[in-house]
Symmetry: C2
Subunit: 239 residues, 2 copies
DNA sequence: AAGTGGTCTAGACCACGGC
DNA sequence: CCGTGGTCTAGACCACTTG
């Protein structure tokens, strides 16, 4: 592992253990470069990571300080990956089942072609799954994936986790996701599978998910019962 | 301005102008450092910016390539700041009005103290505003702000934009925000002010917003009619 | 004035991909 | 093998804050 990542992790550990308290200054960069026996540039690369994670912030002429709101930042650590992979999100304490409502392979529609950057000849999986957590309906998922990017999907995989298959079996890495979130009235399918009445709102998340190399591999819409929980997002200004 | 930012902007401009097409390789780092007459480290700092913005991605041994999905990335450029400031979000083409439903100053509740990192003696504004866009109710906003961080709020400011006041008058910079998003049934106030019926869902966004130096200055809940639009988020994996 | 972080250099070595 | 990006150095200068 690179030095700067190790240093970032050490400092991070110190912060989480309370060695440096919220709002306090870290040792200055010269001190850190002496302590870790590296050049100052390397220290700065380490601090860059912590700054990007919002654990610390720096003020020229003054110092580098532990963020005043580390607690929130920690919540966010989960939520960056949160929506990518329902199975991972919920941990081991819960019983997660998937009922496959539809599973076919077909040619893509126009909007699917443009979202997944594929041509009309490239086949896509068309998947509808009901996700059930602790015997309560949790989400109704409409997923499209290009076969050539994610080969070998079958019912057995769909019953477990597509994301585990992608990362563990295909050895691909999930990179980023573009999501839009909205509220909606329940439709017929929602009421049937999520067991909602006409007055129960639905939280809908539509996303395109990309691999590390920027290839889109999933275009999906997920509809949740309104009281399933909330979606967390941490947004950094780019100024 | 620093060299690496100027270089990042130049390359960005080239990409946006289509000089380098989606998926194509950029000139390699040595070439760029010759072309811009800077060291390779400086080129790399420039590329770091573009990578963070998801405009390009690099593959060791192979090259640096323009992202295949620049279009989405551009949408995201708006949405990073999207929820911070309704007025800015919607641009000049629309008529935006704010009706002040409540505006008082009081001592904070416990959850407000912990969200805003203030003590029980620090006063907060307690603001409720109805936001109206093109004569249609757009949002019902419940805002709490610490008086000592954002001094001088008055009704005139509330009728326009709090964020303009913070950035232009107080010369403070908005840094980041932590948001949670959920769907809910409408309550009495929603139905009255947003003109909803009992079957119309509400999209609720609760957020804590921070200044550049990590000081929280806003803790708010905003409730939108379900068909007002959607919230966009771009999420990068941190692996 | 002293101490802090931010930028920049010129060169080195390494890890990886593709030929 | 060569060309690519990734890391790292030792030192320099600058910008800013604080006493």
């Amino acid at each position: 592992m690179s030095k700067y990542i190790e240093i970032a992790n050490k400092i991070k550990k110190d912060i989480l253990e309370g060695k440096y308290l919220a709002g306090q200054a870290l040792p200055d960069q010269n001190e850190l470069s002496n302590r870790f026996k590296v050049s100052r540039m390397t220290v700065q690369k380490a601090l860059n990571i912590l700054r990007a994670e919002n654990l610390v912030y720096s003020q020229r002429g003054s110092g580098t300080f532990v963020a005043k709101n580390i607690n929130l930042t920690l919540k966010n650590d989960q939520s960056v990956e949160q929506y990518v992979g329902t199975t991972n999100l919920l941990g081991k304490d819960h019983q997660i089942l998937s009922k496959i409502i539809k599973f076919t392979i077909r040619y893509p529609q126009e909007n699917e072609q443009s979202q997944l950057l594929i041509s009309e000849d490239d086949l896509v999986y068309d998947i509808i799954r009901l996700r059930v957590v602790d015997k309560k309906p949790y989400a109704l998922e409409y997923t499209k994936m290009p076969v050539k990017v994610i080969p070998g999907i079958n019912e057995k995989i769909l019953q477990k986790s597509i994301y585990n298959y992608i990362e563990k079996e295909l050895k691909l890495t999930v990179g980023s996701a573009f999501r839009t979130i909205g509220a909606d009235k329940p439709n017929q399918a929602d009421m049937k599978y999520l067991k909602l009445s006409t007055e129960d709102p639905v939280l809908e998340v539509t996303q395109t998910v990309f691999l590390n190399n920027n290839t889109p591999f999933e275009y999906s819409t997920t509809r949740h019962p309104y009281n399933f929980g909330r979606i967390s997002v941490f947004v950094k200004s780019n100024k």
